[in-house]
């Protein structure tokens, strides 16, 4: 491995540490929020936003998605599209069916 490569990796390590700190802080933040007893809908949204940010950090930096080749982004995009369907439609059908347990 060449010198410049090593230098490159050194710089990355700084980023990794920053990301790690951010993840730790965000973990504490979510837990903290949960003690505030916000209204349910708001609490769920907030928790999911924070979780998504954390997941984005892990995927982006630890898994190098930020600088990853296009094929992989395409694969994930396809996956995301189907995931979206998977999430929306059972719920939508729920709504179409009315409440599940009206008995």
């Amino acid at each position: 491995m060449s010198e410049s490569d090593v230098e490159h990796v050194r710089q990355h390590i700084k980023v990794y540490v920053t990301v790690f700190v951010a993840l730790a802080v965000l973990t504490v933040v979510t837990v903290g929020i949960s003690y505030l007893h916000l209204p349910t809908g708001f609490a769920i949204t907030l928790a999911m936003v924070v979780a998504t940010v954390k997941a984005g950090l892990v995927a982006g930096y630890f898994m190098h998605l930020i600088s990853e080749e296009k094929v992989i982004l395409w694969v994930l995009l396809l996956c995301a599209a189907f995931l979206f369907v998977l999430f929306i439609l059972p719920l939508g059908t729920q709504i179409g069916n009315g409440p599940l347990w009206p008995l």
Binding site: F20, S34, I72
Partner: protein, 209 residues
Amino acid sequence: MSVVIPYQVEPHPVTGVTSGKLGIWLFLASEVMLFGALFSSYVLLRVGAAVENWPTGVEAGLNVPIGTANTLVLITSSITMVMAWASLKMDNLAAFRRYFGTTIALGLVFLVVKAFEYSDKFGHHIFPATGWPEAGDPSVFYGLYFTLTGLHALHVILGILVNLWLLFFGVALWKTDKERLTGRIEIAGLYWHFVDLVWIFLFPTLYLL
């Protein structure tokens, strides 16, 4: 093997990645669909249940401080994992061993903590089949809790096994083919980070909401 299959070490000129990396990402895509289906089911079941029948993690007796600590353990294991890979990149096998060993150890810590949480629940006669609350209309909260964390723990176990193999046997490759070993560690790392990522969603969903 006598047959030489290209792009195992050097990236493919068009896609820019090795076969192994493309493979693991495809695998992770299928894992995303697996956990996506589990989460989607969670949402469907929760929306279907009456609000008062669905406990928050705290109400259900889950220990948030322990969960938080465990989250931090996994996150730490993730950074040691990248550090292990970075050490190989920097040609430092000893550092790799240290970081990689730490990752495995942290994984084990996570499992042990999880085991304590489980046994605590069992001790309180809470099982997957337990409904909530005892009186009134039941919900599947505990079923989801045990199934989702159990499946996640299975993934952790699998990761630990693979990593152990790499640490004790896989490293032999360092003598003959450094690039290839680095590639393998990267792949193992991608899997490990994914498991971490799943937990990042599981933790608030089950413990906090």
